[in-house]
C-alpha cells in the first residue's frame, strides 16, 4: 500500500510539473490546445493526490504500523475518529492535506473559470507552481509513506488532541490557508496576462470569502478547543503559531474590503495586488513557522529540515510577486481618484491601513526574537502587553469604523448628511457609555470604549436594516436584493458580538484560587463553590479523577460541576496527566463559571481555580452569525452573475 501512495504522489508531482511548464509555454505562445492539456493535468493531479490521501487514511484506519507515520501518531486503543484525524496530526500528513486541498481547489477553480481563457491560461501555471512545491516536499523531503518493521503498538496520540474540536479545527484552518492560493493565482494570472481590470477580482471574490471564512471559523474552533481542553481559562495567548493564522486573516479582511473600492471606483488596483500577495505569503509563513522551529512557541515543533525549504519558497514567492507587480505598475493605475477624505472609499482606506498596520505589528512581534538574535546577538521576545497595546490602538478605531463606513456616502459626504446619519448611533453610544460609568463598569478604559463603540456600530447596523426594510417593504427581500451588502453587515454584527465577548470576558473576569478540604466552600463573583467529594473511574484510555463541586448563588443551588484530571498511561513521551475543566454556562450573564482542579493532593486537598467570565459565550455565538453572514454574502446572486458576464463580454471585445 505504501508503494501505491508513493506512486500516486510521484504522479501528482509529474502532472503539476507538466501543468507548470506546458501551461507557462501555452500561455506565453497562446497555444490553446496545450493550455487545455495543462488544465487537464492539474485536474488529474487532484485525483492522484486523492489516491495518496486514501492510502494514508486506510493505513490509519487499519492501524498499519508498518507505516512509520501511523506508528508514530496513533495506537491500537485510539478510537477510529481520532485515528483518522491523525492524518493532520503530523507533519507529513498535514503536508499531504495541504496538497490535497490545493489540488482540489485548483481543479474546481479551473473548471468553473474555464471560459475565461486568457486569464485562466496564466492561472494554471501559478497554481501548478505552488502545488509543485508541496508535491516535491512530499516526494523527496517529508514522505508520509516511509515504512519500517511494524512495532506491536503505536506511540499513541497526545491526550489534548483527543478532542472533537481537533476533528474540525486543523482541516478548517487548512481550507483557509490553502484557499488564499486561489485569489493569489488569479491576481498573478491577471498580471501575467495583462488583464488587470476587475475580472480577476469578480472571479475570485467567493474564493477569497470562503477562504477567509474557513480561516476565521478554524481559528475560533481552535480558540474554543484551547478554552475547554488546555485548562488555563483562556482562549488566545498571542502565541506565534496562533498569530500565524491571525495575520493572513487580517490581510484577507483588508483585501475583502479594498476590492469593493476597485470594483465600484476603479481605485486601489496596486494596493489589492499587494494585499493578495501579502495574504498568500503570510499563509506560507504560518506553515513555515509551524515547521521550522525557529520561533519559541508553546506549541512543540520539530526542528525539521522543512524550515529551510519553506523559507526559500517564501523568498521565491515574494520576489516573484514584487517583480511582477513592479513590471506591471503602468497597468495598475487607478481609473479615478479619492475625491474626499470624508467618503465611504476613504473610510475603507482607513480600515485597510489599520488592518495592515495591526497585521504588520503582529508580524513584527512574531519575528522580533529572530531580529534581535540576528542584530544584537541576544534573543528578546514580546508578549501579551505588546499585542494588547496594539489590539487597543488599532482594534478600537477599527471597531468604530465598522459603524462609520456604511453610513458615509460614496465619493463625498456633506456635513449635513453626516449629522443626519450619525445622530442615532451617537446617541446610542453616549447613552451606553454614561450607563456603564453609572453602573461602575469604568474599571477598564479599553473595555468601556469597546462597549461604547459597539453600541455605535450596533445602532448603525440596525439603522441600515431598518431603512432598507422600510424602502423595500420586507427584510427578506432587502437581503435577497443585495446579499453581499447585508451579508457583510451580518458579519459586522458577528465581529461586534465577538468584541463584546472578548471585552467582557477579559476586562471584567474574576479569578479566585483556594485549597479546599471536603465540605469547604469558596466564593467568587457571587457564586458559592462547595467541594463535596472526589471519585475516580477507569475510562477507555485514561483513569479519570473528578471532584464534585456544588455551585450555588444566593443560597439556591445552581448546578453541580466536575473538574478533575485524566491520567493517560499511554501517550507520546510517556504517561501524561491532563486537566479536565468543568464549565457552567450561565444564561443570565451569557458567561461561564469555569473550574480547574489545579492540584489534587493525596491527602484529598483540592486546589480549585475558579474563573467567572461574563459574556464569554458571545464569542462562540459570534461564530454562528459569522458563518451565516458569510454564507449570505457568498450566495449566488443573479445580478452579480449578469454583471460578471458583461465584464467578460467587454473583456473579449477589448481583446
Amino acid at each position: 500500500m505504501a508503494g501505491l501512495g508513493r506512486a500516486a504522489l510521484l504522479l501528482s508531482l509529474g502532472l503539476v510539473a507538466y501543468a507548470l511548464v506546458a501551461g507557462s509555454y501555452a500561455a506565453w505562445r497562446r497555444r490553446r490546445r496545450l493550455a487545455l492539456s495543462a488544465q487537464n493535468a492539474l485536474l488529474a493531479s487532484f485525483v492522484s493526490t486523492l489516491v495518496a490521501a486514501a492510502v494514508l487514511w486506510s493505513a490509519l484506519a487499519r492501524r498499519d504500523f508498518s507505516f512509520v507515520y501511523v506508528s508514530e501518531h496513533i495506537n491500537r486503543s485510539l478510537p477510529l475518529g481520532y485515528a483518522l484525524s491523525a492524518f493532520w496530526g503530523g507533519q507529513e500528513g498535514s503536508l499531504l492535506l495541504w496538497l490535497m486541498i490545493l489540488s482540489g481547489y485548483a481543479a474546481l477553480a479551473v473548471w468553473l473559470n474555464r471560459r475565461t481563457r486568457d486569464l485562466i491560461a496564466w492561472v494554471v501555471p501559478v497554481l501548478a507552481g505552488v502545488a509543485f512545491f508541496f508535491a516535491f516536499m512530499l516526494c523527496f523531503v517529508s514522505s508520509p509513506f516511509k515504512t519500517a518493521p511494524a512495532p506491536a503498538d503505536g506511540a499513541g496520540m497526545v491526550p489534548s488532541l483527543q478532542n472533537p474540536y481537533m476533528l474540525a479545527h486543523p482541516p478548517l484552518l487548512y481550507l483557509g490557508y490553502v484557499g488564499l492560493t486561489i485569489p493569489f493565482a488569479f491576481a498573478m494570472g491577471a498580471l501575467l496576462s495583462r488583464r488587470t481590470d476587475e475580472r480577476w477580482i469578480v472571479a475570485t471574490r467567493r474564493w477569497t470569502l470562503a477562504a477567509w471564512t474557513f480561516l476565521g471559523v478554524g481559528q475560533l474552533l481552535g480558540a474554543h478547543w484551547a478554552y475547554v481542553e488546555i485548562g488555563w481559562g483562556g482562549y488566545y495567548a498571542w502565541d506565534p503559531v496562533e498569530n500565524a493564522a491571525f495575520m493572513p486573516w487580517l490581510a484577507a479582511t483588508a483585501f475583502l474590503h479594498s476590492v469593493m473600492i476597485q470594483e465600484k471606483r476603479g481605485m486601489l488596483k496596486l494596493w489589492n495586488m499587494i494585499l493578495v500577495a501579502l495574504a498568500f505569503c503570510l499563509s506560507i509563513f504560518g506553515t513555515f513557522l509551524t515547521r521550522s522551529g525557529v520561533i519559541n512557541s508553546i506549541h512543540s515543533f520539530s526542528q525539521s529540515p522543512l524550515g529551510g525549504w519553506f523559507l526559500g519558497f517564501i523568498v521565491l514567492v515574494t520576489a516573484f510577486s514584487v517583480t511582477l507587480i513592479y513590471v506591471r505598475l503602468p497597468l495598475l493605475r487607478a481609473r479615478t481618484k479619492l475625491e474626499s477624505l470624508v467618503s465611504r472609499e476613504a473610510a475603507f482606506l482607513y480600515n485597510n491601513l489599520l488592518l495592515v498596520a495591526f497585521c504588520l505589528t503582529i508580524l513584527w512581534g512574531v519575528v522580533y526574537p529572530l531580529l534581535t538574535e540576528a542584530l544584537r546577538g541576544e534573543t528578546r521576545s514580546v508578549s501579551k502587553p505588546y499585542y494588547n497595546f496594539f489590539l487597543h490602538s488599532f482594534g478600537l478605531p477599527l471597531l468604530l469604523l465598522m459603524g462609520i463606513g456604511p453610513l458615509v456616502a460614496w465619493r463625498r459626504a456633506s456635513l449635513r448628511s453626516l449629522g443626519r446619519m450619525f445622530v442615532l448611533p451617537l446617541a446610542a453610544a453616549v447613552v451606553t457609555g454614561v450607563a456603564l460609568i453609572a453602573l461602575g463598569f469604568d474599571s477598564s478604559i479599553p473595555g468601556l470604549l469597546a462597549y461604547t463603540f459597539s453600541a455605535f456600530v450596533a445602532a448603525s447596523i440596525a439603522l441600515e436594516f431598518w431603512r432598507g426594510t422600510r424602502a423595500t417593504g420586507s427584510l427578506v427581500r432587502l437581503v435577497a436584493r443585495n446579499r453581499r451588502r447585508y451579508g457583510g453587515y451580518l458579519v459586522h454584527a458577528a465581529v461586534l458580538l465577538f468584541a463584546i465577548g472578548v471585552a467582557g470576558s477579559s476586562a471584567y473576569q474574576t479569578v479566585r484560587e483556594r485549597g479546599l478540604q471536603r465540605g469547604q466552600s469558596m466564593t467568587v463573583a457571587g457564586y458559592t463553590l462547595t467541594y463535596e467529594q472526589l471519585a475516580a473511574r477507569q475510562e477507555a484510555n485514561a483513569l479519570a479523577t473528578r471532584a464534585t463541586i456544588d455551585v450555588s448563588r444566593g443560597g439556591s443551588h445552581v448546578t453541580t460541576l466536575y473538574p478533575g484530571k485524566n491520567d493517560y498511561p499511554v501517550a507520546p513521551g510517556g504517561p501524561t496527566t491532563s486537566n479536565e475543566v468543568s464549565i457552567y454556562h450561565d444564561p443570565r450573564n451569557l458567561g461561564d463559571v469555569f473550574l480547574i482542579a489545579d492540584q489534587i493532593d493525596k491527602g484529598g486537598t483540592l486546589y480549585l481555580k475558579a474563573l467567572v467570565k461574563p459574556l464569554v459565550n458571545l464569542i462562540w455565538a459570534a461564530g454562528f452569525l459569522f458563518v451565516f453572514g458569510s454564507l449570505v454574502a457568498m450566495w449566488p446572486d443573479a445580478v452579480e452573475q449578469r454583471r460578471l458576464a458583461e465584464r467578460y463580454a467587454a473583456g473579449a471585445v477589448a481583446a
Partner: protein, 134 residues
C-alpha cells in the same frame, strides 16, 4: 488637476502608526530577554527563561513553592538553573519537558513570576520518539 488626498492619508497613517510604535517601545521597553540557564548569570532583571526540566519537587501551592532545576535546551550541557515557582502548574510539566518561565534571579535562585510557567504543548509535529535509550 487636483491631486488625490489618498497619498496624504497613507503617509499620515504610516507616520501615525510609526509614532504609536515608537511611543510603545519608549514607554514599555523593547521586549524581554529570552535566555537559557547558561546565560542567567549575565542577566540581572526580568527575563524569560527557557530550559528542560532535570528534576522537580515541592508544591506550587505551598509557601515553599515548586522547586525545579532546568538545563539548557541547546548547548552548554553542564549549565543548570534552580527555579522556585508558585501558582498553576501546566498538565505537561514533568522531568524532560521543555518549559518557559518568567522571573528574575534572587540569591542564586531564579524566582519565577506567579502563574508564569508554560510547557511546550506537544500538540503536533512531534519529533520522532527515540529508537533506543542508552
Amino acid at each position: 488637476m487636483r491631486r488625490s488626498p489618498a497619498r496624504l492619508v497613507i503617509a499620515l497613517s504610516v507616520a501615525a502608526a510609526l509614532a504609536v510604535f515608537v511611543v510603545y517601545t519608549a514607554v514599555a521597553g523593547a521586549g524581554t530577554p529570552q535566555i537559557q540557564p547558561n546565560d542567567l548569570a549575565r542577566h540581572h532583571g526580568h527575563v524569560l527563561l527557557v530550559g528542560k526540566v532535570v528534576s522537580a519537587g515541592g508544591d506550587a501551592h505551598s509557601s515553599g513553592g515548586l522547586r525545579f532545576v532546568l538545563r539548557n535546551v541547546t548547548g552548554h550541557p553542564a549549565a543548570r538553573a534552580r527555579v522556585v515557582y508558585h501558582g498553576s502548574v501546566p498538565d505537561l510539566f514533568k522531568t524532560g519537558r521543555e518549559v518557559v518561565v518568567t522571573g528574575a534571579m534572587s540569591n542564586g535562585t531564579f524566582v519565577a513570576d506567579t502563574d508564569s510557567l508554560t510547557t511546550k504543548c506537544p500538540s503536533k509535529y512531534q519529533p520522532a520518539p527515540p529508537k533506543s535509550t542508552t
